[in-house]
């Protein structure tokens, strides 16, 4: 059973943009694509921890602002490089962004 919690309005994140969610154990970046899908990933590039939320979002990918690694939002995998960031279930319902609290919690434990 998933445990969806309401984070914010979809419109609080710009299209092709991202915002940060602070948790006790670091930041999660919530991305919104041009097609209004949302994805949640750790805000740390597998290369050198670059802040992915500050990258440029294109299609279903983000380019890290520090050295341009391209990370797939769906899988968290770096394209053409070795590396992967953690992803978390996220969805949009009635114009609100929802994240799965259980997964966030697992992250905290891990």
């Amino acid at each position: 059973m998933s445990n969806w919690i309401d984070i914010a309005a979809l419109d609080a994140v710009p299209q092709r943009g991202a915002r940060l969610i602070k948790t006790l154990h670091g930041c999660v970046a919530v991305f919104r694509t041009a097609g209004n899908e949302v994805f949640a990933l750790d805000n740390a590039c597998p290369h050198k921890n670059g802040p992915l939320a500050d990258g440029i979002v294109h299609g279903k990918a983000v380019t890290c602002p520090l050295h341009n690694w391209v990370i797939a939002l769906e899988t968290g995998e770096a394209q053409g490089e070795e590396g992967k960031v953690a992803t978390y279930p996220a969805k949009v319902a009635k114009g609100r962004i929802l994240l799965d609290a259980d997964f966030l919690q697992q992250r905290a434990v891990a």
């Binding site: 984070i7 602070k22 041009a34 097609g35 440029i56 294109h58 299609g59 602002p65 966030l104």
Partner: protein, 808 residues
Amino acid sequence: MTQKLVVIGAGMASGRVLEHLFDGGADFDVTLFNAEERGNYNRIMLSPVLSGEKTYEDIVTHDADWYEANNVTCHFGTHVTAIDRQAKTVTSAKGTVAYDKLLIATGSAPFIIPVQGKDLPGVITYRDLDDTNAMIKASKAGGKAVVIGGGLLGLEAAAGLAERGMDVTVLHLMGHLMERQLDEAAGFLLRRDLEKRGITVKCRASTAAILGTDKVEGVLLEDNEGLEADLVVMAVGIRPETRLATDAGLEVARGIEVGAQLQTSDPDIFAVGECVEFDGQLFGLVAPLYDQAMVLANTLMDKPEVFTPKKLSTKLKVTGCDLFSAGDFAAGEGREDIVFRDPARGVYRRLVIEDDVIVGAVMYGDTADGNWFFGLIRDKTDISEMRDTVIFGPAYQGGAPSDPLSAVAALPRDAEICGCNGICKGEIEDAIAAGASDIGALRSQTKASASCGTCTGLVEQVLAVTLGDDFVLPTAQPICSCTEMTHEDVRRMIKSQELKSLPAVWQACDWKTPCGCHVCRPALNYYLLSDWPLDYEDDPQSRFVNERKHANIQKDGTFSVVPRMWGGITTPDELRAIADAADKFSVPTVKITGGQRIDLLGVKNEYLPAIWDDLNKAGMVSGHAYSKGLRTVKTCVGTDHCRFGTQDSTGLGIQLEKALWGSWTPHKLKLAVSGCPRNCAEATCKDIGIVCVDSGYQISIGGAAGMDVRETSLLCQVPTKEEVMDVVKAVTQSYRENAKYLDRIYKWMDKVGLEWIQEQITDLDIRAALVERFDLSQTIYRKDPWAQHVAKPAPYEPLATLTLEAAE
């Protein structure tokens, strides 16, 4: 038996009818009435009379001798007031004259907009010699003229009056000039050329009233703007002069209705010229009137012919500006445009194509090929075979099949390839024979394609044709894997197709990804905002984080904050505010930069709006240390303190920084001003460097001291500060408009050549236009982004802060 032919109106159409009749030996006894106090003259040449190039005598087409030789009874200065169809007579102040056949050729009357003040002395229309003389007379006193109407007539009047020294403003109701003949782009070029001659043009200007008590004193617009005027010319349109025909009970719609032999609803009465309506159509240019005149003359001589209106092309010369339009050039579904522009020469061509046939053409600046295009439209020629080259005109159409290469092969040696520099094919061939084997060598040896670059493809084709297999056409580097187009291609598309949004570019340029990538989007965002400052809205999501957050990102995700210090000058108060901010926000490193200012390094993302707010309050704005835009203007102490200083280098540097800050450029832009050739501000390794000398200012460009180290090249020397400002703005704007994204000035200069940049700057008209465009863009972009973001801090704050409890 000789018939009595009475002609009402001695205009361009009736004059031509009479010529055909007499040439054909027709047996008529002609009586000619004209309301004007003169006989037939060439009305379309009134403009040269107005401007002073010609006199009335030069434009008379039929003089007293001619009327006498042909036995024409003339009643000039005589209005015909009535037609009696029963009695077959016409009446004027001079009595009644009988006719067997009557010809109405009354032309049209200027339309007067029914506003208050329209009858005041000093309000003139533009139709005949009397109007022209009235304008010439009024212009002798100088003063201000307002021309209402930006169509052909209004612009001719405006140009003539400006030529005679009046201060002229044209008011036009529509969004661009001559909207019926020209599209927006050509209308813009026309406007620009008129403005260069000192004429003010106001589009979307609707006249509310003409002001004045005994004579005209001004014009009031709907938006309440008032304009002073000593003369008002109303040129808003014409309507067929049909009053006599209506009173006589002839069938009249908008014009006097005629059949294909130009007969009216009365078999003995004919009509010709602008006063007629045929098949729902009115006529306002002489070409179709001359066709009518021929048909009518033959009809009168019992050689019936049929008048068929031809597709019209208009080739016009608004005193000094060449324009041409033909066919239907409205955009529409299933229609495609081919556009060619040569910004440097002010040339614009646009073809509208539907189903491989050209249906419309608009040309501005160079209209020499107009007739050829008109032929293709008229004959509905299938152009699919020459699609790639058709826009260049007939000179480029070789034998079929005309692929671009064989078209170029077929060109004669004197065909011009590079319009900017006037380089012909032969010169390029000679340079190739002398050893030039690539585009770079050709550019430096012949200047071909060294200017606007539009002809680069053609020059390469000449290379390919001349060298044969030895030459491999370079595959131009696309911007990124989202597209096959180069930066240059895309820039040209954005300008020529007037692409004003990212989706428009993606669509028109066939992007392979749905919304680009981190490489192309910042470039496109820059091109759009630089080319369409008024229309395009900057897209923060297409900017690198530094430009989105107005700070430099650091390796640990923190940011650096650099406030502007104009020209490197600061004050104790500013320094205190910086120190306070550094304390308050626990800034780990405070560093003096290489750009004469202070960097606060290691500021946390969420503190940015707050630290900016503090710095703003102390009077400081963003230093744009993060931008592809104006960075620093480094200065030395100059005449204020230095014993060698020749000019106020510090003051000039500050003035430059205040004028240029906030502008976005293809790459960063750094300036410096040194007070003397000792050059303590290192001006000769900046993008734009100014070295002050006793006689003025040496402006040089294209320096760098980063990955490449380059010394600047002298652009020009000017005597005054004002000129420095203009030259720097102009060169910056030219760089903004023409360079590839992420090319510093030196790289751009290597591509277009210093000479080309020099030409832009030394041509005062081009310089002024560049300055104007720069200033326009600055009205939008010279704003402190920090202040704007302080007001909207959301992006810097977390979207949510979750504690585990909250999550549970």
